[in-house]
Symmetry: C2
């Protein structure tokens, strides 16, 4: 029986405040050959995501808590090294949920074989993954963006927002983005937004008005909301007739202990006959096939570019990467390369047109 040494992150306690190093432990293990029906995967790149905070803390919102004293879960892309199930042959590029470890034994039925394995592995976590499909569903099914629409996107340098900007441009819309730093604003412009602003530079209401004037727009047809709060109120203020507001998440309230007042101008939804709609990806899994075909093609021709922040340090640095992501230091999709040579992945990402907006050294 062939074995490989591996390391994996085990949850030891549930933090109530900010998670810390004492809540987890990096454990050395030996991974054996897969039993029948399983495959062994060498993991290449793993995702760290905000919802994991809830699963670590044991809050039940979107997903089950991680069990204590077991390795944690995370979406991860890897290459099958040994297969004991003919449906997932050795050599396949796969996506699975058994991240937070270098090598995983995965039930074949829980592996998704990635048809588009010419793309950079990190792209399968970003534009081809949950954030990208969230952007797609929000644009195509909820906001129903069309040519000529004026579209405003908050958190436009984020994993979802950066994809929304690009899809909206591909649909022929005029796009305004907001983000939280000058660097992020520059990135949003680089992705094709017609105007972008740093929301720290004034009131969102004023900044949005200036941005609209810059692109010759008198109102918004679509607002893709990732933050709620002041952004949402500012957007409602200037919606056009029959505007659509896609509610994707409300970062502004997640860290708030007490409920924040909502927008004071909802009556505008009546006057403008506007629609505001929340959505979660789980209701739209039937869109996956169409989405993947389209997005893979866009990535290949460079029409959409993946935006990633790579946290360095391999599996050892994964926990600090998670904390860094929680602190908001990432632009685009926060990913952690798990292979020995991340430069190898960088090359692939750049060759496929992706933007590695920043590297973070995450060492314990």
């Amino acid at each position: 029986m062939s074995t490989v040494p591996s390391r994996q992150w085990v949850l030891r306690s549930r933090p109530s405040g900010r998670p810390s190093a004492s809540d987890v432990e990096l454990v050395d293990i030996v991974v054996g050959s897969p039993e029948p029906g399983f495959v062994r995967v060498e993991n290449l790149v793993m995702s760290v995501e905000p919802y994991m905070r809830g699963r670590i803390g044991g809050e039940v919102n979107y997903a089950e808590p991680y069990p204590l004293d077991e390795p944690m879960l995370a979406p991860v892309i890897g290459r099958v090294t040994d297969s004991a199930d003919e449906s997932v042959p050795a050599g396949s590029l796969v996506k699975h949920e058994y991240g937070w470890r270098e090598h995983s034994l995965v039930p074949a039925g829980e592996c998704t074989v990635l048809a588009h394995d010419d793309l950079a592995p990190a792209d399968h976590l970003g534009p081809m993954g949950i954030p990208g499909m969230t952007a797609w569903v929000g644009c195509e099914r909820i906001a129903r963006i069309e040519a000529g629409d004026v579209v405003f996107v908050s958190s436009a340098a984020g994993a979802v927002g950066s994809t929304v900007v690009q899809i909206a441009k591909l649909r022929g819309a005029t796009v305004i983005g907001s983000a939280g730093s000058a660097e992020k604003v520059a990135l949003v412009r680089e992705l094709g937004a017609d105007a972008a602003f740093d929301y720290h530079d004034g009131s969102v209401k004023d900044l949005l008005r200036v941005a609209m004037a810059k692109v010759g727009a008198t109102g918004l047809d679509v607002y893709f909301d990732n933050v709620g709060g002041e952004h949402l109120e500012a957007a409602i203020r200037v919606i056009n007739d029959h505007a659509r507001i896609a509610l994707c998440g409300m970062i502004s309230i997640y860290n708030s202990a007490t409920p924040q007042p909502g927008p004071n101008n909802l009556i505008k939804l009546v006057w403008r006959r506007a629609r505001m709609e929340g959505f979660l990806l789980r209701d739209h899994l039937d869109a996956r096939e169409e989405f993947e075909e389209r997005m893979a093609e866009w990535l290949r021709i460079g029409a959409v570019r993946g935006v990633h922040t790579e946290f360095r340090g391999g599996v050892e640095g994964a926990w600090d990467a998670f904390l860094g992501m929680l602190d908001g230091t990432a632009t685009g999709k926060a990913v952690v390369p798990l292979t020995a040579d991340p430069a190898d992945q960088d090359r692939k990402t750049r060759e496929s047109g992706g933007i590695i907006s920043s590297y973070k050294e995450a060492t314990r």
Copy 2:
């Protein structure tokens, strides 16, 4: 040339606060025979509506201001006495906008000949008119009420709300209504609501919870909002997955000088994948034919009952009726019979199953 004496209300000045008797004048005139293309109408019953306040004051929101020193406009039902246009023969029951007067000369093209002239005239202003069609569009096109839905309606004794309650019941929904007095609550129950409460009796949140428990509901599939404010926040709090919130108007904010904070729980729209949508009738005029056929039939078989408050006093009392309606004294549709013998209309209303919830003596 045959003439008839008539009286009509002329706007003399634009009030900034509450309108008063000095803003208008009841003028005696003589109405001649109709010129070619016109008809002369003896008006039977007229509508007084909240939006008229804006047209009198000169605010531009939904409709044009009424010109000064001219008779005001209002939806009115009448019988054609003389016709100089073959498209609208004498004897036709018509609806037109030249109310606030006993006899009107109306361009034939601005008369709607009422096919269903077996119904009570007041029903053409209520369930068959703008409030009824607003209810219909909100239920059918915006909220898309289906059998088994749990539906909450605010202002449920109002002209729109009372029709929503009845349509929702006809669609097989469980219906909870809120209203502003014990009498109105009793009426809402009489219309078929499974539960109803007076929102003065506690917090809407608590009252709604009690009402839901009473009907065995754990959440709302539909909220038909006529008021905004506390009602809206309370409803969002308990929406089910894929709930629909139809925004029809926000009485709670109309009389407020400063913007009121919105609901503090809009994030629920994401978690519940809910849709909140404002609408105005003008976008749904293509629904008229289907709506009228259906509603006329429902009225004939007594499945829907018109709810009216009749302001007495004929044309002389119309201004006080308008002020009374503004003060919120009306239940259901506020109407002003203009004929000499209102009892004649009452009989017709009662024969067709309508509810005259109250009479108001409006005398100058």
